[in-house]
Amino acid sequence: MFTAQLSKNASRCAALLRPLKASLTSQLGRPFSSSVADDTTSLTIETSVPFISSVIDPPSRSAETTPKELLSFFRSMAVMRRMEIAAGSLHEAKLIREFCHLYVGQEAIAVGMEAAITRNDNLITSYRDHCIYLARSGELVAAFAEMIGRKDGCSGGKSGSMHFYKKDGGFYGGHGIVDAQIPLGCGLAFAQKYLKEDNVTFTLYGDGTANQGQWFEALNMAELWDLPAVFVCENNHYGMGTADRRATKSTAYYKRGDYVPGLKILFIKATVHPRLITLS
């Protein structure tokens, strides 16, 4: 999914990615083999950690994939990781001003979701949006330009790190006030139902956000009106600097929907295997 964009910006991206290819090659002990990159033999992979669920049967731990697909996942995640590390350096050098929220360690969520959904499905998140933007067909150079505040940025340099948008990729931002994106995501789902689109909206939020009031309001209305909305909690165990057990009485975030009858919740630990099972 990434290779098409990278080849388009090859001249600009080559400098960024040269160290990546070299380091990967040395770790693998052999150069990238084109046969692996094109290998479409079917593989069955089991997740290393079982799924935990509430009110729903957990999905199967095994999934079908191919080496080509796995390598594309890895490449995407590696690009995301390198981008975030570079962004961190730019932030320390004060070239990225004020807020710069990094997605390091969470790449699997973005890549895994993208593998299971389509461009017509919508996605919305809070301010930790660099990698979601890339996953939704955003461009690497546009992302960096926006972070640094240049007019070639994806928002014209007007919003910065927290407000990437890619409407034609089905990505609706990029929101600085955490928890605001949850009703907004329900609104996207509402519109999909209103317009009779056969698609879903994924609303991403963090463990810190899960305590805010709008979350409960939106969840109630989503279930009341049967909206095609999937809420994804990216639990990195910290809300800014506060550990989740200091901010949340019950850190079993996946059990919160128990109070809303009919809601089905899935708890997927961050895993090497990025496939997300969509809920019907």
Binding site: S155, G187, M221
Partner: protein, 400 residues
């Protein structure tokens, strides 16, 4: 919008059809008939004896139709929902209850529960849902039972609706209308009486409109629904039941008033009085009182608080040289403060007296009737301020 500007300008040339046709009706009599008509509309012991007068004056008018503000808003909602399937209405009690103030009466039966949606008491949630739906090109009308409750959702109004178009470099325009009653009702206490015009009008990205008459309500609400930007539409509970004459142009389904244009309700040459919403009625009454004392007041109905029609206000002040601003909101950082600054910046040499601001008393709205009357601007306050601006009165105590 060429049709709407034609309609608007034709209205401006004929601010009152009765007087233009009869030619002889004096200003005070015209104002008197307006007050009488309002009394008649509300009924009461004197209504029947005034009906005779109403019929007499009506015989001279060709635009005989009267409409309450409530019906004007209802008809605007109805016509816009019929014209565009993307328009839907969402809010507390808008559907089965027929509207908390009956503004959305009959719409659920006509358009069904998919387009007229009763929400739980979750302002932040449903305002956000409205904005999210607007991201995908729908045209929501989000009703707040009053704008006091909209404070629960103000983040969605300002940060999500108001700023998204700018932050996304144009990818996400938000064509939404947030509407509901604003300002003081009667006896509802401090937490249910605030005017939020100044709050929303300070935010770039939003448009803020506030109608007074039925024609204003129809024209501005239609313009708001058709506008591609988020609009905060401030109505007034105590004006919903008031009846105003509506012209044939105003009844046209495509009748829109231009956003950003104020209306001169009454020409004058001695002092300019600006007002919006219910205070326009008070300003007009004050103008009648002043006319008896030989002061000719020009009353401007702002209609659009953001964008503010600075050109019309300044042009008027350059003519009269004196300004009184009237609003229901609190005085500090209010609409009057902005108008005063605008006039000082652009027309300082033309001012013959300091600008007078009439606003709600700087205190949470009291409940007791006599205290509430002292807190909300009254006609006497406007008259006193206008006379002060004209150097006609002796300086009085702090409450003057």
């Amino acid at each position: 919008m060429s049709d709407s500007s034609f309609s608007y300008h034709s209205l401006r040339r004929r601010p009152n059809l009765r007087s233009s046709i009869t030619g002889q009706v004096s200003e005070s009599a015209r104002g008197m008939s307006r007050i009488l008509l309002q009394r008649v509309a509300r009924g009461g012991a004197a209504a029947s004896s005034f009906r005779h007068l109403q019929n007499v004056t009506r015989a001279y008018s060709s635009a005989a139709k009267e409409m309450t503000v409530r019906d004007a808003l209802n008809s605007a909602l109805d016509e816009e929902m019929a014209a565009d399937p993307r328009v839907f209405l969402m809010g507390e009690e808008v559907g089965e209850y027929q509207g908390a103030y009956k503004i959305s009466k009959g719409l659920l039966e006509k358009y069904g529960p998919e387009r007229v949606i009763d929400t739980p008491i979750t302002e932040a949630g449903f305002a956000g849902i409205g904005v999210g739906a607007a991201y995908k090109g729908l045209r929501p009308i989000v009703e707040f039972m009053t704008f006091n409750f909209a404070m629960q959702a103000i983040d969605q109004v300002i940060n999500s609706a108001g700023k998204s178009n700018y932050m996304s470099a144009g990818q996400l325009p938000v064509s939404i209308v947030f509407r509901g009653p604003n300002g003081a009702a009667a006896g509802v206490g401090a937490q249910h009486s605030q005017c939020y015009a100044a709050w929303y009008s300070s935010c770039p990205g939003l448009k803020v409109l506030s109608p007074y008459s039925s024609e204003d309500a129809r024209g501005l609400l239609k313009a708001a629904i058709r506008d591609p930007d988020p609009v905060v539409f401030l109505e007034h509970e105590l004006v919903y039941g008031d009846s105003f004459p509506v012209s044939a142009e105003a009844l046209d389904p495509n009748f829109c008033l231009p956003i950003g244009k104020a209306k001169i309700e009454q020409q004058g040459k001695d002092v300019t009085i600006t007002a919006f919403s219910r205070m326009v009625g008070y300003a007009l009454k004050a103008a009648e009182v002043l006319a008896k004392e030989g002061i000719s007041a020009e009353v401007i109905n702002l209609l659009s608080i953001r964008p503010l029609d600075r050109a019309t206000i300044n042009e008027s002040v350059r003519k009269t040289n004196r300004l009184v601003t009237v609003e229901e909101g609190f005085p500090q950082h209010g609409v009057g403060a902005e108008i005063c600054a605008s006039v000082v910046e652009e027309s300082f040499e033309y001012l013959d007296a300091p600008v007078e601001r009439i606003a709600n008393a700087d205190v949470p709205m009291p409940y007791a009737t006599n205290l509430e009357r002292m807190a909300v601007p009254q006609v006497e306050d406007i008259v006193r301020a206008a006379k002060r601006a004209c150097y006609r009165s002796v300086p009085m105590a702090a409450t003057a």
